[in-house]
């Protein structure tokens, strides 16, 4: 156990080193920290209450008083972008949480037991994988009805197969390792074997996938809200703001440009950080890049 702990600590140190050395990854981390702050303290940070209507200042272009301008109801766009971070973070965290738990469990069980259990579970995952992600999410929301909670469930279901596949693939290679066989011969139960010996050793690719999935979850939530299926007004969300801004593109470009930029910068940060995480936690990937004579900037 001690050896595992040390190597895990080393990996996190390696990750921190990568982040510090790589300015891009550091910038990504800063953005994500700011995002988290906006999600938690949004109302206190926003210069105006996000839902305050002011018909006297409708469709105002960016100015000192309203740096991102105002929308068709006179609401401050900057305040809505700040408070809108909460929805993105909430949906991304819960949706990816759902798929992480469901997918890793499925992958562990399928990979560990093999045989018919594996066939049934993975065929089920294949069926979910046979749809373009956003189409499946739209179909699920058509059944469940639009809304924030249902959007989380839909995105969670859509992302489950990828976690199941990644986990299963790692389990298959770990299952036959000497330490697993040794523990089994000592009489360890399946549950104990899976929890203590298999799971910790399949986590690295899962962690990398989590950061990638967070980026895609934010993108998908925004898309669903943009299509009117996610967060419902008046609650501010970036996707919904973009949808509303689209109707005013001619009169008020700022209504669509700033919420979209917020989505873009957030997703970019998660992706850049995900790359850094991959370099640090997935040594095989790292050596593959090194073998090719440098992978360029991460």
């Amino acid at each position: 156990m001690g050896a595992v702990a040390v190597s895990r600590q080393q990996r996190w140190l390696a990750f921190l080193r990568v982040v510090v050395a790589n300015r891009l990854a550091a910038a990504g981390l800063v953005v994500i920290v700011l995002l988290a702050l906006a999600a938690i303290f949004g109302e206190f940070l926003a210069p105006y209450p996000p839902s305050d209507l002011d018909v006297t200042s409708r469709l105002q272009p960016p100015s000192g008083a309203h740096p991102f301008g105002t929308d068709e109801l006179g609401r401050d766009v900057l305040s809505r972008v700040i408070v809108g971070a909460r929805v993105s973070v909430q949906v991304a965290a819960i949706a990816v949480g759902i798929s992480l738990v469901a997918g890793v469990l499925t992958g562990l069980v399928a990979g560990y037991y093999g045989g018919r259990v594996d066939t049934v579970l993975m065929r089920l995952m294949d069926v979910l994988f046979a749809f373009p992600a956003i189409l499946l999410a739209i179909a699920i929301l058509a059944v469940l009805g639009p809304g924030l909670t249902n959007a989380m469930i839909a995105i969670g279901v859509v992302f489950t197969p990828i976690f199941a596949r990644i986990t299963r693939a790692s389990v298959l290679s770990v299952r036959e390792e000497v330490y697993v066989r040794a523990a089994r011969s000592l009489g360890a139960s399946d549950a104990r074997l899976i929890a203590l010996h298999v799971l910790p050793n399949v986590l690295a690719p899962v962690i990398v996938q989590t950061s990638i999935s967070l980026a895609f979850a934010i993108l998908n939530e925004a898309a669903l809200s943009f299509l009117g299926l996610g967060v419902q007004p008046p609650r501010p969300s970036w996707g919904r703001m973009l949808f509303e801004g689209r109707g005013f593109v001619r009169q008020a470009w700022w209504m669509a440009v700033f919420p979209g930029a917020a989505i873009f910068v957030t997703v970019l940060s998660f992706n850049v950080l995900g790359d850094a995480l991959r370099d640090a936690l997935d040594p095989r990937q790292k050596s593959a890049i090194e073998a090719r004579g440098g992978g360029g900037p991460a």
Partner: protein
């Protein structure tokens, strides 16, 4: 696989809480029409029987009728299919036009400024929401410069110039996103190919770098690239749905979204089934193409 997909799509209508026909008819409820639609849909039968009937119909091209308009679903789908295929195909062309030159150049000149620029481009392309990019394009090219139409569709046969003008923005929107992902794969598969022994041999026998790259590297780098392009084509279908919405492009994606909005579940069911079938077909073709390109692979 297709069978599993069909079960899931079939259940779509049956998982809707309440009566889907009544919901779809809304305020225009008419007991006589309701009776006819409900008999036609066979809702009084047990679920497995309904599934069998629905599947038998689907195989012969009968996907039922719209609960809202009463028109056959298949007709509506076939009307929209060409627009979606046009957009998907044009987007792939744009993606390849970006990814092939950029990926090859950045691999051959690995570590150069161009390589760095290509990496930044692909990172940006992967992270940018396609619907936002579409809106930005509308803002710049339709509102400010006024050189392209903001939305809509024109038939190729009626007016080729209008067709191209309408197609350009949506195709570039999807193409940039797919192209940025493909650039990474082209780069890495060319880099891998560059490190092979046969490349060293080709160089050692005095071939010019150009010949080495075009004749030896590219041909071998093509194999994994075909798979990725195929998979991208499949995921691109997802992007098509949203971009159709942004540009009011009258394809299957827009039809599906309109069906969600109108609670027209049979149309939604048909659109989802057709898009998922296209998705699986593309994957099948990719697998076959893969085996054809690389004779070492046997199925």
């Amino acid at each position: 696989m297709l069978l599993g997909v069909s079960v899931l799509v079939f259940l779509l209508v049956h998982l809707v809480p309440g009566d889907p026909i009544r919901t779809a008819m809304g305020p225009r409820y008419d007991p006589e029409v309701y009776q006819r639609l409900s008999e036609r849909a066979g809702f009084d039968q047990p679920l497995p029987v309904q599934y069998g009937q629905w599947l038998a119909g689907a195989v012969t091209g009968d996907l039922g009728v719209s609960f809202r308009t009463g028109r056959p679903v298949m007709g509506a789908l076939l009307e929209r299919l060409p627009a979606t295929l046009t957009l998907a195909f044009a987007s792939v062309v744009v993606a390849l036009l970006i990814a092939l030159p950029l990926g090859v150049l950045s691999a051959v000149r690995s570590g150069s400024k161009l390589d760095y620029a290509a990496t930044v481009f692909s990172q940006v392309g992967i992270s940018i929401p396609d619907f936002w990019m579409g809106i930005l394009f509308i803002l710049v090219f339709a509102e400010y410069l006024q050189i392209l139409p903001a939305s809509g569709y024109a038939s190729l046969l009626d007016d080729p110039v209008a067709w191209l003008r309408h197609l350009l923005m949506p195709a570039v929107t999807i193409g940039v996103v797919s192209g940025s992902i493909l650039t990474r794969f082209v780069r890495s598969s060319v880099l891998e190919s560059l490190g092979q022994d046969y490349v060293r041999t080709a160089r050692a026998k005095g071939l010019s770098e150009r010949v080495v790259v075009t004749r030896h590297v590219l041909r071998n780098a093509l194999i994994p690239f075909v798979t990725v392009t195929g998979l991208q084509l499949a995921t691109l279908l997802g992007g098509v749905i949203i971009v159709e919405f942004v540009f009011a492009w009258p394809g299957l994606g827009l039809l599906a979204l309109q069906a969600v909005d109108a609670r027209d579940y049979t149309v939604l069911q048909g659109a989802v089934l057709l898009i998922a079938t296209l998705f699986l077909l593309i994957n099948l073709v990719v697998d076959l193409l893969y085996a054809w390109l690389d004779p070492r692979i046997k199925y």
